[in-house]
């Protein structure tokens, strides 16, 4: 039974004697009953005592939730060569981005694997704004700084400035716009998915509001001065224009899984290419021609020849045990059952009432509707390959007339 996480991983994994770093909302989490765990080196709420993970997930899809994502690394890249610099490390067409718009992209390695996923935004000011994963800070930051130093050594102009300690608050759910409307000078009708603007929010200056998120719902991420972060959260919670609740990492994980979004370290890593991960869309069209990012040749060859050997797929199963990370997937073969893949993450979906998961499987088994056997060790269960997202996403792409 060692395939199952050890007994009560909920207690073991989520407890740690080592004190983590604290975000600017640490005290607020404690005051509001946040159950704090060490995540990516930070003390973060996994849930709040007054709302179960399941209810918090459902609440977010119906109303709106606040997530503290200040642990993520926010960076400004400045200097006149900043666009070419970021393009040398990522798959994004930063040059082609309209001012104040952004895109999901990846840092790649020489094998075409993913070093990290990130959101890169070209602002109308003299910098690029980038958000990368907290769990990757220790490799991303030296990587950025070393590369910038070598660019400078060649006479180029590029600097990396991290926004240390600055708050980042995700407000996610269908009531987001109603909550912010009238409380910001930013025009939310014009702020479409993956665009950004700086303005006043609930009376607080210098908030960068970007329409994006990690739940599949309409939402924004608000980058705010550390000293204003908890005031902003309290004002959001007090809103009468929507039912605003705090949500933790538990709900965030269930929400992103239902929306088919990857968690770095689980569903994508240094050994999966963006193509194998089903993220070909992050390789911008222009970059497929110009190349010039690590592993570009390998990645573009995979796109052209469609010769990837494994593929990330969605899985669903009705009831029973949920497939979770590292559990093998089998098919019957003439000589018994053969393992053709592994689950990378999964959970019982609060919104769908069935189990949802992501996995990598050998390409021949990646077609929609393929039935596979998930091997829990003592027991096996059937799962079906299904296209993601598992539910309809609600990104705001413009005002409908």
């Amino acid at each position: 039974m060692n395939r199952l996480p050890r007994l009560f991983p909920a207690i073991r994994t989520y407890s740690s004697k080592t004190e983590g770093k604290k975000t600017c909302l640490y005290e607020l989490h404690k005051q509001h009953g946040g159950n704090l765990v060490n995540f990516a080196g930070y003390e973060m709420p996994v849930q709040y005592t007054d709302l179960s993970i399941k209810d918090s997930t459902l609440h977010t899809r119906k109303h709106v939730s606040i997530f503290d994502v200040s642990h993520m690394l926010q960076t400004h890249i400045t200097g006149k060569d900043r666009v070419a610099f970021i393009e040398s490390l990522t798959t994004a067409d930063v040059e082609g981005l309209k001012p104040n718009s952004g895109t999901l992209s990846v840092f790649t390695n020489e094998k075409g694997g993913i070093k990290d996923d990130l959101i890169v935004t070209k602002t109308d000011q003299d910098f690029i704004y980038m958000v990368t994963n907290a769990g990757c800070i220790d490799k991303d930051l030296p990587y950025l700084q070393e590369n910038a130093a070598s660019w400078r050594a060649k006479g180029k102009d590029v600097q990396i400035n991290t926004l240390d300690g600055r708050g980042l608050i995700a407000l996610q759910g269908p009531e987001m716009a109603a909550v912010l409307k009238g409380e910001t000078n930013i025009n939310l009708d014009e702020l479409t998915f993956m665009t950004t603007s700086v303005g006043k929010v609930f009376g607080l200056d210098n908030c960068r509001v970007t329409r994006c998120g990690y739940t599949g719902e309409d939402g924004v991420e608000i980058s705010v001065d550390a000293k204003h972060a908890s005031v902003l959260v309290e004002r959001l919670l007090a809103s009468k224009a929507g039912m605003v609740r705090l949500a933790g990492l538990g709900a965030r994980d269930a929400l992103r899984l239902e929306a088919g979004l990857c968690l770095y370290g689980n569903d994508i890593d240094e050994n999966t290419t963006p193509i194998e991960a089903g993220l070909a869309f992050v390789i911008a069209k222009r970059r497929r021609q110009t190349l010039g990012f690590p592993g570009a040749e390998i990645i573009v060859e995979q796109i052209e020849k469609k010769n990837w050997k494994k593929r990330r797929v969605g899985l669903v199963s009705e009831g029973g045990r949920a497939p979770r990370g590292h559990i093998p997937l089998n098919v019957a073969s003439p000589i018994g059952s053969a393992t053709i893949g592994f689950v990378t993450s999964g959970c019982p979906s609060p919104c769908l009432g069935k189990n949802v998961a992501m996995a990598y499987v050998d390409t021949p088994y990646s077609k929609d509707g393929t039935v596979l056997e998930v091997d829990f060790g003592a027991k096996q269960a059937k799962v079906t390959v299904q296209k993601m997202p598992f539910l309809k996403t609600n990104y705001y792409t413009g005002k409908k007339n």
């Binding site: 996480p5 909920a10 029973g320 045990r321 979770r324 019982p348």
Partner: protein, 160 residues
């Protein structure tokens, strides 16, 4: 303490008996209300007439959060102390449950199939998981008393 024991054992007696017993609670014999025993892996067992009722503690249920699925063991299955014989699952995590005693599964709490979160609502009572006919009663001596378990649990919490 007697009142506490009575309350936590109430599932094992019928209502009329319960009323009588409550009246006479101070003279309840330990023969009828054996002490609940605990493991360091957060299971409990309550033995009566050689049959142990097994469940997980409130601490474990709380750490898992809303339980949405319980993989119950088969009746008739032989288990040895420490075997993983059940799995409980929340949105957050799945966990093995290890049997605190050796024996044969004689009954399972089918009600959990329709209402798995009964384990959260009533971990020591309606949220029981299964019953085991003991083959090694002496194993009980090696388990924790309620007081010992509470001390152990506090240490776990402090380590958090």
């Amino acid at each position: 303490m007697a009142a506490l024991l009575l309350r936590s054992s109430s599932r094992l007696v019928h209502l009329p008996e319960l009323i009588t017993l409550q009246r006479a609670s101070l003279s309840v014999s330990s023969r009828f209300f054996a002490d609940r025993k605990f493991t360091k892996k957060h299971e409990w067992v309550l033995v009566e007439n050689g049959v142990g009722t097994v469940g997980i503690t409130a601490f474990a249920a709380g750490a898992l959060g809303d339980i949405v699925y319980v993989d119950l063991p088969e009746v008739g299955k032989q288990v040895a102390q420490g075997d993983s014989f059940c799995a409980v699952e929340s949105v957050k995590a799945a966990s093995d449950v290890y049997t605190p005693v050796s024996g044969t599964i004689t009954e399972r709490n089918e009600a959990l199939e329709g209402a798995p979160n009964m384990i959260n609502k009533s971990p020591l009572d309606e949220g029981w998981i299964c019953k085991v006919k003991l083959t090694e009663e002496s194993e009980l001596k090696g388990l924790l008393t309620e007081a010992e378990y509470n001390t152990f649990k506090e240490q776990e919490e402090a380590a958090h």
